[in-house]
């Protein structure tokens, strides 16, 4: 289980031209990902979802707050001592074309982490080959044909499977998939999503899914949690299908309204929400972070920041003073 409380990250730039600049990437984020569970972070680019994913995978430091991996506080440990904990969390990157070394065969790619594992656990060399074949089968590839190949001989979907297989070589407890299907051909995306779901069910690996494509977030499983992140703050959090079907925060509603409608197959939602202006990072931090773009803002919104809370009979947590259900997503014709 991985939990975070009040995670804060600020990027400081000492720009020579524009002067010192601070970007508040995360403004006190809480999260919990149970063992074998699933969560999904969604939001626009620059909202901090990738930064949070990288912090969880141990690739980025954080300024304030606390992260616990299986109850062990990460801040209390020295960097070297953190390593075995973060090893349990493996990252799957967006671009399978640059995530694999083009000069190495798939066998070589898998061999390196496996031989390290073999040495640590005192296993023989034959175990390495067995395990390499095993992880490839787990991700739906035929070891016989794939092992001897180079990355350029594989399609994007196959490469992403190899990347996932590589992550599995170290027996991770959690996979962090950052936009893992956005560069895969449309007809093959679902295969990768189904694979992640399948690994969750079969191996009990928890999955953290980072994406701007809300529909793909559903594939982590219906027991998963959805976190909607806006400018470093979680603005809505709850069960995936609840948040998608009945969003209450105007930002979540804008995100969902923006999803293209398959006219002919679907009927658009009746109350689509369009933000008043586009995202501007230099907007003031006073009050609700979304206030300037929010079509429903009230007096209170510009002076006071709403915190993530439960209440008003709404099943999911929300950070809005005036939460209201609106029908924003497209529904299939057959249901109308």
């Amino acid at each position: 289980m991985i939990t975070g409380t009040g995670v804060v990250k600020t990027f400081k730039q000492r720009g020579k031209v524009l002067g010192a600049r601070e970007v508040r990437a995360l403004r006190g984020v809480d999260f919990t990902i149970p063992k074998g569970g699933a969560a999904s972070f969604i939001g626009e680019s620059g909202c901090g979802k990738t930064t949070l994913g990288r912090i969880i995978a141990g690739l980025e430091s954080y300024d304030e707050g606390e992260i616990l991996i299986d109850g062990q506080s990460m801040s209390a440990l020295k960097p070297k001592q953190r390593q075995p904990h973060f090893r349990k969390i493996q990252m799957i990157h967006q671009d399978p074309y640059s995530a694999l070394n083009p000069t190495r065969t798939i066998h070589q790619t898998l061999y390196a982490p496996l031989s390290l594992r073999a040495r640590q656990t005192g296993r023989s060399r034959s175990w390495i080959d067995e395990r390499a074949a095993e992880v490839l089968s787990l991700v739906g590839l035929d070891p016989g044909t794939v092992l001897a190949r180079y990355p350029h001989q594989l399609s994007g979907g196959m490469r992403q499977r190899v990347v996932i297989a590589r992550a599995l070589t170290v027996d991770p407890e959690m996979l962090v998939a950052d936009e893992a299907v956005s560069m895969i051909d449309v007809s093959l995306r679902l295969g990768i999503l189904a694979l992640l779901k399948d690994l969750r069910e079969r191996l009990g690996v928890s999955v953290l899914f980072i994406t701007h494509d809300v529909a793909t977030a559903r594939y982590i499983g219906d027991d998963g949690e959805l976190y909607v992140i806006y400018r470093g703050q979680v603005v809505e959090r709850g069960a995936v299908d609840t948040v998608i079907a009945d969003p209450v925060h105007p930002y979540t509603q804008s995100l969902l309204s923006a999803i293209p409608v398959l006219h002919g197959l679907e009927q658009p939602g009746e109350q689509p929400v369009t933000p008043l202006e586009s995202l501007n990072e230099s907007q003031s931090d006073e009050g609700c972070l979304f206030a300037r773009r929010c079509p429903f803002r009230g007096e209170r919104c510009t002076t006071e920041r709403p915190l993530l809370r439960l209440g008003e009979g709404i099943p999911q947590e929300h950070a809005c003073f005036y939460p209201e259900r609106r029908s924003v997503i497209a529904r299939p014709m057959s249901e109308v």
């Binding site: 007809s187 398959l262 002919g264």
Partner: protein
């Protein structure tokens, strides 16, 4: 300025690329009409030949590729395939506006947008450069930007969505009435994407354009296009009015593609990945149907005979399984 939206007739177009294995067709015998004033969307996965087809409209296929057969007739220009040198250079920009894939990154980082605009004007012999700037400001203003500010900016000062709008402005500013947009929203956020699609639609209507949108995302086409054409392995497998094709796809590939899209509501297990993977230039079958390897309706005839493109009212499908039994039960009115 009294130009009309031109019609485009692509007939029997074949584009080949020279490879060590001989000349291979990336686009094979494609016939497609772009009606004056319509928005046509071409959907295809990577390697389907959709970008090559779009470049053929400018006669801009670069070696090792060449247009091997067919014609591209554009009203007021004639057959573009026959144009050479100066004639061709003038046609590009003035008659045909092109917004390149990743237009966000196709600006010169060293020059302000305004200077690039003036370069464009000079290279096309525009005498009234002031008028050109005025026109550009108007277009940018129309798209919700502060024209003066944008023209004075370098590309790094603009966000992805703003650069995309600059790309559209540059394609339209010389008063081109045929516009090709190659992946206009890739790498943009959902909300920005929705915004750009709305702008494309509005500008199209206001200026009376003929527009071609190339994308891998059916959602994008569903939002903007009147007509939809589906490409696979260098062939056009299905085309027709967008709503009709989405509501009742006929080609097995179109069906599979629509089924493979993760949706926001309903049973997520209903969505399925297509088995197999899209062909590359080298693996496209030389004869017979290009889709047969992944097709559930495969018959003996598919291995040897190329399916003809058969028209049924406004819809055209190239499939042996459909040709024999055109699905006449589809009631089009239902989706209008």
């Amino acid at each position: 300025m009294t130009q009309q939206a031109p019609g485009v007739r692509i007939d029997g177009l074949t584009v080949v690329y020279k490879t060590p294995a001989g000349e291979l067709p990336a686009v094979r015998e494609i016939s497609l009409d772009l009606r004056p004033g319509s928005i046509t969307g071409i959907v295809g996965e990577s390697g389907s030949g959709k970008s090559t087809l779009a470049l053929s409209l400018l006669n801009a296929v670069q070696p090792p590729g060449r247009i091997a057969a067919g014609s591209v007739e554009i009203d007021g220009l004639g057959d573009v395939v026959g144009l050479r040198g100066e004639q061709l250079r003038k046609a590009r920009g003035k008659h045909i506006g092109y917004v390149f894939q990743a237009a966000q990154n196709s600006l010169n980082p060293l020059k302000t947008v305004g200077k690039q605009l003036l370069d464009l004007g000079r290279s096309h012999g525009v005498d009234d450069l002031r008028g050109l700037v005025r026109e550009a400001k108007e277009l940018l203003g129309r798209m919700g930007l502060d024209g003066a500010r944008v023209l004075d900016s370098h590309q790094h000062e603009l966000s992805g969505g703003m650069r995309q709008r600059v790309g559209i402005m540059l394609a339209l500013v010389l008063n081109a009435h045929l516009v090709v947009l190659d992946e206009p929203t890739t790498a943009l956020d959902m909300i920005t994407q929705a915004n750009i699609l709305k702008i494309i639609r509005e500008v199209h209507d206001e200026r009376g354009l003929t527009t071609l949108v190339i994308t891998h995302d059916i959602g994008v086409v569903a939002e903007v296009a009147d007509r939809l054409a589906v490409m696979y392995g260098g062939r056009l497998v299905e085309q027709g009015p967008t709503r009709e094709v989405l509501g009742a796809p006929r080609h097995p590939y179109t069906k599979g593609l629509i089924r493979a899209i993760p949706r926001l509501v309903g049973d997520i297990d209903e969505a399925r990945a297509l088995p197999g993977r899209p062909p590359t230039l080298a693996t496209v079958p030389k004869e017979g149907c290009v889709f047969r390897e992944r097709c559930a309706l495969r018959m003996d005839v598919c291995d040897t005979v190329d399916p003809r493109a058969v028209a049924d009212g406004p819809r055209i499908v190239a499939c042996h399984a459909v040709e024999g039994a055109v699905d006449v039960t589809v009631d089009v009115k239902e989706h209008a």
